[in-house]
């Protein structure tokens, strides 16, 4: 493998595949919960942390994760206490995150935050990406059906004995970690696209839950691999090219859309 492609490209591909697989999987749940629009403000929670990491020259991971996880727990607590819709709470947190990032970040160093840094990812960061993706995968798998029931009708989930608050927390923490990973691939501003587009394409073509989940993961991974090679070929930034590939797949899915919905 190493002979054919450089070790840096290998790390980039492996981490991008894990990141898009997990964003694709989680995306199916977020699209159903009409949360994919919330993913955007949530992903901006990463910005102040990313800004600090860049200014002080340490790994994005160290900057991004504490902020996104703390911010998400904050959103969970505020929603629980105020019963405000998640979109509102996220919008408030979003405003705080973006404005504080803009205050501290030197604009000439903003590129990494804007479009990601997957082509420079280190071995350690790739390992962390793999481990975090696997952990989140198992958590989502564990909570998937119950979250889906909460999405369909929350009262029914209560009757079925589902601990809504605990499941929501696990769900939000999974989102936080996945968004943190997404920042590596596409930057802090368009992470929501990683979550929303593959799931939307998969929904267009699926006739059951299994194919919905599988297709979303597959579409995510294909756009990552295609995006990385296209970006190298035409010398454009990788993150936006991954999203572009994802959009092309979505357009194809619209053409072949199932008529049952």
């Amino acid at each position: 493998m190493m002979n054919i492609i450089s070790s840096q490209l290998f790390l980039t591909l492996v981490s991008a595949i894990f990141i898009t697989a997990i964003t694709g999987y989680l995306g199916t749940l977020m699209l159903s919960k009409k949360m994919s629009i919330v993913a955007d403000p949530l992903s901006h929670l990463t910005l102040p942390g990313a800004a600090l990491a860049i200014i002080y020259g340490y790994s994005l991971f160290l900057g991004v994760f504490p902020f996104v996880i703390l911010g998400t727990i904050l959103i969970w607590l505020v929603e629980k206490r105020t019963k405000l819709p998640m979109e509102n709470v996220a919008a408030i947190i979003f405003a705080i995150a973006v404005s504080s990032a803009l205050l501290i970040l030197p604009i000439d160093k903003a590129e990494e935050i804007l479009i990601g840094n997957i082509t420079n990812i280190s071995t350690l960061e790739t390992l962390i990406t793999i481990i975090l993706s696997l952990i989140v995968f198992f958590v989502i798998q564990k909570i998937y059906l119950k979250m889906m029931l909460i999405n369909v009708y929350e009262d029914l989930a209560v009757i079925e004995g589902v601990n809504i608050s605990l499941y929501n927390l696990l769900y939000l923490l999974s989102i936080a970690i996945v968004l943190g990973l997404g920042v590596y691939l596409v930057g802090g501003f368009i992470t929501a696209a990683l979550i929303a587009i593959p799931a939307a394409s998969a929904k267009n073509l699926s006739k059951n839950l299994f194919s919905y989940k599988l297709l979303s993961i597959v579409f995510g991974v294909i756009s990552a691999v295609a995006g990385i090679f296209l970006a190298r070929l035409i010398h454009l930034p990788t993150g936006p090219m991954v999203i572009a590939a994802s959009v092309i797949l979505f357009s194809i899915s619209v053409i072949f859309q199932r008529k049952t919905f």
Binding site: S32, L149, I159, E160, K207, N208, S211
Partner: protein, 232 residues
């Protein structure tokens, strides 16, 4: 028969407005209780309070907390249309997920064939979807079932069959049913007791034949209303 549920001086206030005031009634084991009343009289609020979803003052005492099934009012196909969920997937959402054999058995019970298992829930007809929900509720073997207008969204004619289906299952499974409906014929035909609510408070409680006369119905609904009593 034992009292399964006793409600004494129940008060429910939502956003500063008293929705239920000093309500008392009881439900015996194996009974069908219908809650009747115009829109906004607090029928669904009462159901959701009994289910433990809403805060209240007063007493709600279960003799022994039974396994509960609930078919909410708002759960229509529109709620599932967004998801690529087959009927099989929909059953998998139960906690714990039932076995294939059980699912087929309960689908048959509500008059649906095995072939619906692979269909997307959003593509079922209104009547089929209601039957699916009833099977979904029954498969956990509840002892008490709360139905909030189970025929809402079902075509005229379809409603009648849903109620006769419920009645058959009620007899077979020895269930207790607490039902919210607008359908007066159902009240006369199937209910042991009826609880009438109005926007001004609760009006009557007792067997429908004793308390539901023309005068009482006019009081409940506030307009002239004709009574067509059904004889079984």
């Amino acid at each position: 028969m034992n009292n399964l549920l006793k409600v004494r001086n129940l008060n429910v206030t939502l956003e500063g407005e008293k929705v239920i005031e000093n309500l008392s009634f009881q439900v015996k084991q194996g009974e069908i209780l219908t809650i009747l009343g115009p829109n906004g009289s607090g029928k669904s609020v009462l159901l959701r309070t009994l289910l433990g979803f809403l805060p209240y003052q007063g007493k709600i005492v279960w003799q022994k907390k039974p396994k509960i099934g609930y078919l909410p009012q708002g759960l229509t196909q529109l709620k599932v249309k967004d998801y690529p969920l087959t009927v099989m997937d929909f059953f998998a959402l139960k906690n714990p997920s039932p076995e294939h054999k059980e699912i087929v058995k309960f689908l048959h019970l509500v008059g649906l064939g095995e072939e619906v298992l692979r269909k997307v829930t959003g593509s079922l007809s209104g009547g089929q979807f209601q039957r699916l929900l009833i099977a979904w509720v029954l498969i956990s073997h509840p002892k008490v079932i709360f139905f909030d207008e189970p025929t809402a969204g079902v075509d005229i004619g379809g409603g009648e069959t849903i109620y006769s289906l419920l009645h058959t299952i009620w007899k077979e499974e020895k269930l207790t049913i607490i039902l919210v409906t607008h359908d007066l014929s159902v009240v006369y035909k199937y209910s042991d007791n009826v609880l009438c609510l109005t926007r001004k408070g609760h009006l009557c409680f007792g067997p429908p034949k004793d308390i539901l006369n023309q005068k009482m119905l006019e009081k409940i609904y506030g307009t002239e209303i004709k009574v067509y009593e059904h004889h079984i």
